[in-house]
Symmetry: C2
Subunit: 418 residues, 2 copies
């Protein structure tokens, strides 16, 4: 991890930049797969499974039986852990339900909003060695609470055509409508256009590699919405001189091991804290099973010493981190100054992995600076807030003249009131 001391204000914008990656060159591949799916439907999906997943599938849909018996393969300890996460995520997202508030803006004119769940949503869960069942919890729980009628899940099969049982177990537990064995660009294409087996959805959620990311972006051209633009995961930690270097290093590493492209940043006013953390990093890195990945991520990472805590906050707001850990005694005070961040962790016991799994907050968060203009996934991501207005005869008499006057000034002349 590179250490910097009091960088000049002119350099801040450069330091807060992420490595830029273009996905434009993937558009051609995406277009080819999308075209193929539109023309050949399920047949194209079977072919891609054979080609990319090396799996010869008989059917794309996972049978209800297999979903229901999946719990047999999960240890009781893991099931209990999942129950705790499920309960906390549910509590936090349930509290996001908005009460209907009728506002009489003018006598006789009543306006309000009502939330309606998006009818059909799709969740993509990547394959590979790590079965991301926690993301199933994070996406399907709010979908269910929002009242989405159809919640489908696509995930690639292994070469034996199997899906990880923990993903199936959680999907069944949380109430996913159907699970399909399909991954990559072809999964996103299937959910965008629909095939005989897989229904088209209105919004697609979930992480994925650069192909999936490119496909999700492209899907937006076909009327489908997506959760948010994806990028490598990030953490920024502001640690004061009394923070525990062992914890700070552990938090940096737990993010770094997510992938070689993870971004981790440490800010402090204390050079001793930075030094202590650097030496803890070396110590802990040795014991890490995924040390190559973490070490690679740390190479691109920064520890910056600033003169004041205020400068640390200013830099953090400029960087707009996905995860922000305030390992400071005055964490509450600093939290008030956060302007741009996905999720904020206050105090020495609030580690990022708490939010990744079980505190109750959502772990699908804006990366790559999108915290400047996007929120993380919440119940809101699964609903539309429709506005309603009910206007009485008296109401239209009250606002009608103003409407006519404004419409005339905008040269829309047929707006004549009752």
């Amino acid at each position: 991890m590179k250490s910097l001391k009091n960088p000049d204000l002119k350099e801040w914008a450069f330091l807060a930049k992420r490595p830029s990656k273009s996905i434009a060159e993937l558009d051609e591949i995406v277009d080819e797969v999308f075209d193929n799916i539109r023309q050949k439907g399920d047949k194209a999906l079977f072919e891609y499974s054979l080609k990319f997943d090396k799996a010869k599938l008989k059917s794309l849909k996972i049978e209800q039986d297999e979903l229901k018996t999946s719990s047999k393969n999960i240890s009781k300890k893991l099931r209990n852990a999942i129950d705790i996460a499920y309960s906390n995520i549910s509590k936090f997202h349930k509290a996001q339900k908005e009460k209907v508030q009728k506002i009489e803006t003018t006598s006789g004119v009543v306006c309000w909003r009502e939330s309606r769940g998006i009818e059909k949503v799709g969740i993509y869960i990547p394959g590979g060695s790590a079965p991301l069942f926690s993301t199933v919890l994070m996406l399907a729980i709010p979908a269910k609470l929002a009242g989405c009628k159809e919640i489908i899940l696509c995930t690639p099969p292994d070469k034996n055509g199997k899906i990880d049982p923990t993903i199936l177990y959680v999907a069944n537990l949380v109430g996913v409508t159907s699970v399909f064995s399909v991954g990559g660009i072809q999964a996103i294409g299937a959910m965008t256009f629909g095939t005989k087996s897989i229904p088209a959805v209105s919004k697609i959620f979930g992480p994925g590699n650069q192909y999936v990311t490119a496909a999700k972006q492209r899907a937006q051209n076909f009327g489908v919405a997506i959760d948010m633009p994806a990028g490598p995961s990030e953490v920024l930690i502001i640690a004061d001189k009394n923070a525990d270097a062992e914890f700070v290093a552990a938090d940096l590493l737990s993010q770094a091991e997510h992938g070689a492209d993870s971004q981790v940043i440490l800010l402090s006013t204390s050079d001793k804290m930075i030094e202590a953390t650097q030496s803890e990093l070396k110590k802990q890195l040795k014991k890490l099973p995924r040390k190559e990945v973490a070490a690679e991520a740390l190479k691109n990472s920064l520890a910056i010493q600033f003169k004041t805590e205020n400068e640390c906050m200013l830099f953090s707001n400029l960087y707009a981190p996905e995860h922000l850990i305030l390992a400071c005694e005055n964490g509450d005070e600093l939290a008030n100054k956060v302007v741009n961040a996905g999720s904020v962790f206050i105090g020495k016991y609030a580690c990022e992995s708490a939010g990744d799994y079980a505190s109750g907050t959502n772990h699908t968060l804006p990366t790559n600076g999108y915290a400047r203009n996007c929120s993380g996934v919440s119940l809101d991501s699964f609903v539309r807030k429709i506005t309603f207005q009910k206007i009485s005869k008296k109401g239209i008499q009250n606002i009608g003249p103003a409407i006519e006057e404004m419409a005339e000034a905008e040269q829309l002349l047929h707006t004549k009131m009752r």
Copy 2:
């Protein structure tokens, strides 16, 4: 307006389709303008103003003096009308502020959300004959309420280099930070990349022609968010046999006159109502100043008779209209069945233009079927809801074992608790 009777269920999806328009061919033009702005900054903007707006500008920024004296040119009657709209829009959007709710998901684990205004937002207002000052109200009022620090507005000058005084008056009234004389693709490019005169923003709002729409879509590739995908305006009216055909026809026409590509649809179980509306349309169309535009829009429009009111609602939800008028005696009951719509108008006195101008609801709404997955603009569009978690020692002891268990199952092995 074409009349149809009891269309077969198989035809519904086709009837609910909008005419598709590709904006892909505009990408090349957008890229050229964007590149030019990145290379030449303000200089490029002055050149484009001369080329497209025929205006030779000395400065892009409207002086504070001009903003402040703009009220002189506005009649008292129009100023009063604007005040009513301002008041109602403010009341409705203020009520959308979310109270902070701290949820203790597990003993010692407290989670909550706080809204933060997006720091820099840009509003685009098209030029042309109609000065869309109502859109300035609809976008700048919630931006201000959300706490956005910098709210800039770009709008093209006329050939004398002037901006419509009503736009300037409203911008000043509502608290827009700066107004710039620049339109089209170049305005979107300037707000995306920033120039010496015009600051880069994080999110761009507002309507525009196909060039502006293509530019906004493209801007998303450069880290900027946009309000929503744009399309021609739409209204769908469900009228029962007792609805007032004069009002129904007036509402259809007031939407039709917005543009030749406007979509208007009438659904009813009563053939008499459809006939009466058709004859009213002919009568009212004759008196309409913008009759060519409205007549063109009506050509592509449909009046469909269904057997039951329930079928009308099912079709409306399939179509997902931007504006839905329930001109029915049981409007409240029907409103409960609305699943996909931007904004809903209940009862015979609730005309679309009430929502366009002054009821208090926002008129920036999802078109082209996007009501299936998008909400209209609201206070939410101008904030990020950041999640926070504060965890005590006891809290991490309570959820730590579950986190470790899940992290291990996801093969992220460094997630060791304190």
